[in-house]
């Protein structure tokens, strides 16, 4: 394994009962890479993500983070140094925004002053006003909550950030703005990011590299441009052509307009 590898899956299988959710999946993510995992619902995307920070353990094969087999790592320590943005955000409703953001630092034993400073810093980073710190999650809009979710994932300075459909519940404008903001953070903080999405367009626009899952099998792994050129798998071709078809329709529509 190369020194620059952040995460590696080596023949990873996960079964719930008889049914394999992931079947012999192997790939590696380099440090600083932004990987999107794309696939329809039930293809094993979330399971794949949960295996990285040991919210779940594989039935077979090995998952490595920073070269170490995750089974040799304390799951609590691993999770505290890995950022996680949950599907549906998962903010703690009884914590303020600042408390939500600073939860992992708190678990790591940072003092109150340092946590407050960190929360302010992150609010600025995700472009929320400082005053948001004292509010409760239910007082925020969906987009604001998602920004807080990202801020919470980044609070303890992780090298790896895992995101489970982070922007899917948002309106198109917010989604685009947040996606671009996150992409900028990914670059400036030198993160390794794994984002799950069922939206190929989102993956194409944000990620350096895309993995496509279908029924627990990895059917494609490559840079966006490479995948666009591939023509061997009908499912993949259909998946890649959808954004292109949308773009084409849009262009036709625009050219006909006065």
């Amino acid at each position: 394994m190369a020194a620059s590898t952040a995460i590696a899956f080596e023949g990873v299988t996960k079964r719930y009962g008889e049914q394999p959710v992931l079947d012999a999946v192997s790939f590696a993510i380099n440090k600083g890479e932004f990987l999107a995992v794309v696939g329809p619902s039930g293809s094993g995307k979330t399971t794949l993500l949960r295996l990285i920070n040991r919210l779940s353990d594989p039935t077979g094969g090995t998952v490595r983070v920073g070269g170490d087999d995750v089974r040799s790592l304390d799951p609590i320590v691993l999770r505290r140094r890995t950022g996680y943005v949950f599907q549906g955000v998962g903010l703690f409703p009884h914590f303020t925004v600042a408390e939500n953001i600073a939860i992992t630092p708190k678990l790591l034993g940072w003092d109150a002053a340092r946590r407050a400073a960190r929360a302010d810093e992150l609010l600025a980073l995700v472009r929320l006003d400082r005053g948001y710190g004292a509010r409760y999650p239910h007082e925020l809009s969906g987009g604001e909550r998602q920004r807080v979710g990202v801020a919470r994932a980044l609070a303890a300075d992780p090298e790896i950030v895992l995101m489970d459909e982070p922007f899917s519940a948002l309106d198109a404008l917010t989604r685009d703005a947040l996606g671009q903001d996150y992409r900028a953070l990914h670059a400036s903080l030198g993160l390794t990011s794994v984002m799950i999405t069922h939206d190929m367009l989102e993956a194409l626009l944000l990620a350096d590299r895309i993995i496509v899952l279908r029924d627990g099998h990895m059917i494609a792994d490559g840079k966006p441009a490479e995948l666009m050129r591939r023509d061997d798998d009908p499912f993949l071709r259909e998946l890649m052509q959808t954004p292109r078809r949308h773009a084409a329709k849009l262009n036709t529509f625009l050219s006909r307009s006065p």
């Binding site: 920070n53 919210l55 609590i76 320590v77 999770r79 505290r80 996680y84 949950f86 599907q87 549906g88 955000v89 998962g90 903010l91 703690f92 409703p93 009884h94 939860i103 992992t104 678990l107 790591l108 919470r152 303890a156």
Partner: protein, 512 residues
């Protein structure tokens, strides 16, 4: 407002309210200490959860009075066992059985709400707790517990109201509570007491419920002020629990009384006598018939008035009938030999079971004896108290006279007399010393075939006090001091006067 019964009720409030708060609070604390951890243990274990909920639900279906009463024999056996095994006994009467029964009673709402609260947490939030790096314990403490707390608090409030209400039923097993007002009031037809007991219990329950609600809102809205005010309120109520101890010396002699007027008067009389001689005495009133005897044998109480016929039939299981003096002598011998209890003397009157009809009915059917009654029984309805139809005396009467009534009904004694006077029933099981026999102009029918044994009122002294010369000496003037007429009159006055006032009047008549 000048009713002396109101002043009397108020004078007893510190003792009754304080004792009530004490037993409720200890029971609730114990119930919470068991239910909440139990809920956490079984929330992720479906089988255990089902078993725990089913068991607590079953407990809930047992009537409060029965549950409380059941704990006395259980604890008595446990105390005897522990005495034998470790040489350490404990009192089986009063606080302990009440606390255990009430704690058990409080478990269902707390257990159910805690489980519901914990299970109702959004799985995404629980997943997030693990994902940000909480240990399962941290997740429980920082996320699951606070999110479930409003539901848990609602369960605690329900439990508190139930426990405070049910604690009124702790009186018959020897725990002073606001139920003392209700039990005493019902037996002596002192409605001021009954109402005082109900209102006091309701106000206490409402106050605790509202204070807990305040704490609950404070917790959900993170208002420290609300939590603080609620907590101070609860603490102030908890402070009432020490009221009964204020200005009271060490517990001296305890006088027991069964739940009816005659017993209250005689217990007050004995208490006054002992206190007059400087023997510090207090009363445990409203004890069940079987409970009071076992309590005396175990030394939980020191003195009470029993009736020879009750000992003869209930405890000695005798079905034969002997003359008064022989029964008295045999009973005294048996008590000493089997329980170490001393029979310190008879009071001079009998309170026997007897069948009674209205004077008018007696005349119309020319009834003088139970034998006369038997001929008409087929057309008549009989009413008895809760015990009567289960007692050997009833079997004996039926067999001796071949009694077969058209119908039989069970009633609270207070309602039996008006019922027979109004013609709702024709015959009742009366007590010979009851003041209402004269008041309602009833005719007590002779037991000419001697089916019912004599029921002499006798003073019983616990084994541990049997060598207590000062006590025996203080009780001596009561021997043969009360005639049946005196006692009937005293019992009749219990409807308008307090047992203490009647006891004082009796005491003056008896002299020193």
């Amino acid at each position: 407002m000048n009713d002396p019964r109101i002043a009397d009720a108020l004078a007893r409030l510190p003792d009754y309210l304080g004792s009530h708060v004490r037993v409720s609070l200890v029971a609730l604390a114990l119930g919470l200490a068991v239910s909440i951890p139990l809920a956490f243990v079984c929330v992720r274990r479906p089988t255990l959860r089902a078993v725990a909920l089913a068991l607590t639900s079953i407990v809930q279906t047992i009537p409060g009075l029965a549950l409380l009463a059941l704990f006395y024999p259980v604890l008595l056996a446990a105390a005897a066992l522990s005495e034998r095994a470790f040489g350490i006994g404990f009192p089986a009467l009063g606080l302990l059985p009440s606390v255990l029964a009430l704690a058990l009673y409080s478990m269902l709402p707390v257990l159910r709400n805690t489980i519901t609260g914990l299970m109702g947490i959004d799985p995404a939030v629980r997943e997030a707790a693990l994902g940000v790096g909480m240990t399962p314990r941290q997740s429980l403490r920082m996320v699951e517990w606070p999110l479930a707390l409003p539901v848990i608090m609602a369960g605690i409030r329900t439990a508190a109201v139930w426990v405070i209400g049910t604690a009124t039923l702790a009186t018959p097993i020897g725990q002073t509570s606001l139920g003392n007002y209700i039990f005493t009031g019902l037996q002596t037809q002192n409605w001021v007491f009954v109402i005082a007991g109900c209102i006091a219990a309701a106000v206490l329950a409402l106050a605790v419920d509202q204070l807990l609600a305040l704490i609950e809102r404070g917790v959900t809205r993170r208002s420290r002020a609300r939590v603080a005010v609620g907590a101070v309120g609860v603490l102030l109520i908890a402070a009432l629990a020490v009221l009964p101890n204020v200005g009271r010396g060490k517990a001296g002699y305890v006088i027991g009384a069964k739940p009816f007027a005659e017993q209250y008067i005689l217990a007050a009389l004995i208490e006054q006598r002992l206190n007059a001689r400087g023997l510090n005495a207090s009363r445990r009133e409203g004890l069940g018939s079987a409970v009071v005897f076992e309590a005396l044998a175990a030394g939980d109480i020191d003195v009470y008035v029993e009736y020879t016929g009750t000992i003869w039939t209930n405890f000695m299981k005798r079905s034969d009938v002997k003359p008064r003096a022989e029964v008295l002598e045999e009973v005294a011998r048996w008590l000493k030999a089997t329980h170490g209890i001393t029979l310190a003397g008879g009071l001079g009157f009998e309170n026997a079971y007897a069948l009674a009809v209205t004077g008018a009915r007696a005349q119309a059917l020319s009834l003088k004896s139970v034998g006369d009654l038997a001929r008409h029984a087929g057309e008549l309805t009989i009413a008895g108290d809760y015990e009567f139809f289960g007692r050997p005396e009833w079997q004996a009467l039926r067999q001796a006279y071949g009694l077969a009534f058209r119908a039989q009904r069970t009633m609270q004694p207070e309602f039996m007399y008006p019922a027979v006077a109004a013609g709702e029933v024709d015959v009742i099981s009366a007590y010979t010393s009851d003041g209402r026999v004269a008041q309602f102009r009833l005719r007590v029918l002779d037991d000419d075939r001697h089916a019912i044994p004599p029921y002499d009122a006798v003073l019983l002294v616990s084994p541990k006090r049997s060598e207590d010369a000062a006590l025996i000496e203080a009780l001596r003037p009561l021997t043969n001091a009360l005639t049946i007429e005196t006692m009937r009159d005293a019992n009749r006055r219990a409807q308008t006067e307090t047992p203490e006032a009647i006891a004082r009047a009796l005491s003056e008549r008896i002299g020193r």
